[in-house]
Symmetry: C2
Subunit: 246 residues, 2 copies
Amino acid sequence: MSTQFPAAAPDLAQYPRPHLAVDLILLTLVDAQLHVLMIEREEEPFARKWVLLGGFLHPGETVEACARRVLSEKAHLDGIKVRQLRAFSDPQRDPRGWVVSIAHFALVSYQMLHDAAGDNEALFLAEIVPDGDATTLRYGDQHIVPGFDHGAMIEAALAEIRESIDWSMAAFALLPRSFTLHELQHVYELILGKSLNKPYFRKKMLGQIFADGLRLQPTGRWTEGRRHRPAELYELVKTNAEGAAI
Amino acid sequence: MSTQFPAAAPDLAQYPRPHLAVDLILLTLVDAQLHVLMIEREEEPFARKWVLLGGFLHPGETVEACARRVLSEKAHLDGIKVRQLRAFSDPQRDPRGWVVSIAHFALVSYQMLHDAAGDNEALFLAEIVPDGDATTLRYGDQHIVPGFDHGAMIEAALAEIRESIDWSMAAFALLPRSFTLHELQHVYELILGKSLNKPYFRKKMLGQIFADGLRLQPTGRWTEGRRHRPAELYELVKTNAEGAAI
DNA sequence: CTAATAGTGTCTGTTAGACACTATATA
DNA sequence: TATATAGTGTCTAACAGACACTATTAG
């Protein structure tokens, strides 16, 4: 091979650089349905279109730190676990120029999102509606078509969550601190797009030990006023090796 | 929220841009052990250190296309399926400046790699040696410590493959066109880092229908000269709904 | 009472692996 | 012959889901 390894060049200046952005798919649960946080763009391109939260990478920060900063600045949410999805790098994806975007996603309960960003009129929650193998977005009666390639990003995030949720504790982030096993099962069924076996789901979840020794624990408290038998509320607690709460 | 959505600015020029590179973890099988393709750097930083194949993103190409181009230019390998791993964006990861790298990985048989790049003296195959929960790299008696953050990239690629290989056809890419079921099982065991049940592995693999209707099919040919009972050679073939080869 | 959901017991088919056994090449 | 790997049969435990049943609230 005769060509030299490009990175060996001592001077980086010769290499053209794209802009590097981060977009954030923030999922939450409203009325037992998945929603994604969006914002209405004011300027071209895609003025008046809804897009994901996003921003450009700042010098000195990692892309994950950038995603957390965007979440903090635009939705006032801090301490959320953000996962990197992948780079979207179609040269035509941004009409303004050469912009590569690293998509990230996070799951958060509506409670937390509402407390943090509830007064922000620029933010919207678009409902994610299964539509055959794909999904569409809806806000009230409106059908939402996101700007840029953000529709594809949302699809990719949903696919990633679907593949990785298997008996993980990822779904708990969508629920409030206390929840019933039925609500938990509903979240799994929403994400997986299929119904699960109730006795087996309950047995397995209650026997499961998640990362850091976290387990589901009954609280002794029960739902009220739901015109049917009350359900016990559970919480995620850290336990020691013997299973006692600590 | 008072701050404006940064991407709404009509002029991108105000945003500082990192360099965007692609690094490629190319895995292959030599003497029944996993190896990763590396190159010795000639210039600072990390002169004389081994690093992954890599290059800077060109205008007009996606990061996946860039990874395929690097593979083609530096190892003369074309038509290889490349998967995106993730972005590595530590601001300190490259002493020359602000360089974000999108790591990709690919699996290829030693046969193909040897035919394509066998005469290139700048390329080396470092052996991947399990070392507790982590892995180390070796070349003969030498312990290899890669330059940049390429050691972490290799670890991340191995973790990703380990998580995604489950009954997928990913491992076939490491083997020649014809192979024994024992060789196939060995690849799975190498990647998963544990031994598998022989009767079950064979039954399940032979009954499995992979993507695009691909199946394992006995060739009627057998290994020779191995001082024990010969094993039948199998190939991956595309079949129609009735299971007949097409 | 009915409607609706909570929670459990049992049965069955599949998955995964343990173990043991026979088969067949080379040296 | 010994040795090493190829390939198979059977048994068992865990996993996953089907189905049915009882329990308990509001109205």
